[in-house]
């Protein structure tokens, strides 16, 4: 299995996509961080004040929002690309037990997701520390439950890697998977979670589970507890991957 994972990393690092998406994730994180701090004193803001522990956890949690969708896209492209470019033939010739290929991709993109999460946490730190200092807010990086949010962000982005592999394994079509992921995350889910009447079940959607896991606090939204959010999110990833490995990946490679 180690050699399969090493092979997946070799595939990833011999094209440039990982780099562009990392730049994109860090850019998105920088944008979210700036918006959150910039509007923190706005009377209509939904975030808790930035000198409070809840506010600081919410601030550092934006790293997952910047990274997780793009990691899911990277992971989805990593598996659907095998079908789009027909490298699935060579891949399944080298590893005829296809479940092992899916498992190796799950492990690989979980690790990649964790690394993206760390990179985006550094982006938040680099922007927030000096900016908040000018507002007279000192952030203790190990205080206010922030380490829990770091762990949540890293776990969250890693699980989105699983989700992307799982969804890609299930759908196999690259355009459908990537467009589906983007439309869901940036359009469908924000609309659904914005409808108060649906709150009792939208808390179980991946985005809300992700917010729970990273300990986001918004005045307008109730979330699951962090560990519940993590379980829900991991459940989606493993459900897709399991269904993909059982059904979709068994289909003929013609």
């Amino acid at each position: 299995m180690t050699s399969l994972i090493a092979g997946e990393f070799r595939k990833l690092f011999t094209t440039r996509l990982w780099l562009w998406l990392l730049v994109g994730a860090m850019g998105l994180t920088a944008l979210y961080t700036s918006l959150l701090i910039g509007f923190s004193e706005d009377p209509d803001t939904m975030t808790a004040p930035l000198h409070s522990p809840e506010g600081q956890r919410t601030l550092f949690a934006v790293a997952s929002g910047g990274a997780n969708t793009l990691v899911a896209v990277l992971a989805a492209i990593g598996i659907t690309g095998e079908f789009r470019h027909k490298t699935a033939t060579a891949t399944f010739l080298a590893t005829p037990r296809r479940g092992q290929v899916v498992a190796a991709k799950l492990a690989t993109y979980a690790l990649v997701g964790a690394a993206y999460g760390v990179a985006c946490l550094f982006v938040v730190t680099a922007i927030a520390m000096p900016w908040l200092a000018t507002k007279g807010i000192e952030v203790g990086l190990l205080d206010n439950g922030l380490p829990g949010t770091y762990a949540g962000v890293i776990a969250d982005v890693a699980i989105f890697g699983l989700l992307g592999v799982g969804l890609g394994a299930l759908l196999r079509n690259q355009v459908a998977t990537v467009v589906g992921l983007l439309v869901y995350r940036f359009v469908a889910e924000p609309i659904l979670t914005g409808i108060p009447a649906l709150d009792s079940w939208t808390t179980y959607l991946p985005g809300s589970a992700s917010a729970a896991l990273t300990q986001v606090s918004l005045t307008t939204q109730e979330y699951l507890r962090a560990w519940e959010g993590g379980l829900v999110l991991a459940g989606y990833g493993l459900l897709f991957a399991g269904a993909g490995a059982l059904f979709s990946m068994r289909r003929d490679i013609t």
């Binding site: 092979g7 070799r10 011999t14 010739l93 080298a94 590893t95 003929d252 013609t254």
Partner: protein, 307 residues
């Protein structure tokens, strides 16, 4: 470790249907080790589907396909037993040929230097660091072959490897495969063009509409009498010399100095030398083979599905 002494490749009662189309229909054949076997048939005869069933990429609806006595999926190190080049399209366009092969070296546990070796073997050494997107079809064929060679396998399975190769490339491919088989290893190579194959293969397996129509040696395929084309300024003397001891010599006069004679070219040449007859051309007949292939693989009117 048990020693397997059966055929290198065995298909038994293979069946595969795609939708309403019976792609492979109760197909049984075997490939002996140490031979180059041509897997022949027109486009759409089921060749690619059969090869993919042998390699575990397509699941048969029925029957079995084994390599060295085992299903592909049961081979512990498949790349060391069988190498396959199935299509010249299975590459990420942004990845270099070298990077592509190194991925599979890593996965299969071969040293990375093996990728450079096989690229040199197929003559792609100078282009190995370029993105595959810029490769010609012929170069992709060579890269696909290089990938098949990575594990230094006992058996090579190639699907239409001559597609997209220029004449020089085809000659190169023939020599390469001949050398490979001469070292005691086995090659199964598909083609829809007999002429590409007839100078290369020892055995043929001929397919039409998913069914086996002939398996045997190339010589058995051409069952008609031998013939040759002859050009000579001394037509009458040649015929007189050939006619001695032959009851009914079948000769067709194509031009005043050109004949089609139903005798083996070697025999005509020997007689001409003995009789000191000047020859300007002596060509062994070939189209009987092509004719046989054509007749075996052409759809007959009565077999067509009603419209």
């Amino acid at each position: 470790m048990s020693v397997y002494i059966g055929p290198a490749i065995e298909a038994a009662g293979l069946n595969k249907t795609f939708g309403d189309v019976k792609a492979v229909d109760d197909l049984t054949f075997s490939v002996e080790r140490g031979t180059i076997t041509g897997f022949l048939g027109p486009n759409g005869a089921g060749k690619t589907t059969t090869l993919r069933m042998l390699l575990g990429l397509v699941a048969p609806d029925g029957g079995s396909a084994t390599i060295g006595g085992r299903r592909y999926v049961d081979l512990p190190e498949p790349g060391k037993v069988v190498g396959a080049a199935l299509e010249a399209t299975g590459f990420h366009p942004a990845r270099s040929g070298l990077s592509h092969l190194r991925v599979y070296c890593t996965v299969s546990g071969y040293p990375l230097a093996r990728a450079d070796e096989v690229l040199d073997d197929v003559g792609l050494g100078p282009a190995k660091r370029r993105a595959v997107g810029g490769y010609s079809l012929g170069m992709r064929q060579r890269l696909a072959l290089a990938a098949a060679l990575l594990g230094d396998p006992e058996v090579l399975i190639l699907d239409e490897p001559a597609n997209g190769l220029d004449p020089e490339g085809i000659v190169w491919m023939r020599r390469f495969l001949r050398r490979y088989a001469d070292s005691g290893r086995t090659v199964l190579v598909s083609s829809h063009v007999l002429t590409e194959m007839q100078q290369l293969v020892d055995q043929v397996v001929i397919l039409r509409r998913g069914r086996l129509v002939r398996q045997g040696s190339l010589a058995e395929l051409s069952s008609g009498p031998p013939w040759a084309l002859v050009k000579t300024p001394e037509v009458e003397r040649l015929l007189a010399a050939l006619g001695e001891g032959v009851a009914d010599l079948r000769v067709e006069r194509l031009a005043p100095d050109a004949l089609r004679i139903e005798l083996a070219a070697a025999h005509i040449g020997r007689v001409a030398v003995d009789a000191r007859v000047e020859l300007h051309e002596l060509t062994p007949g070939r189209d009987d083979l092509e004719q046989a292939f054509f007749e075996l693989t052409t759809e007959h009117e009565s077999e067509r599905e009603p419209a």
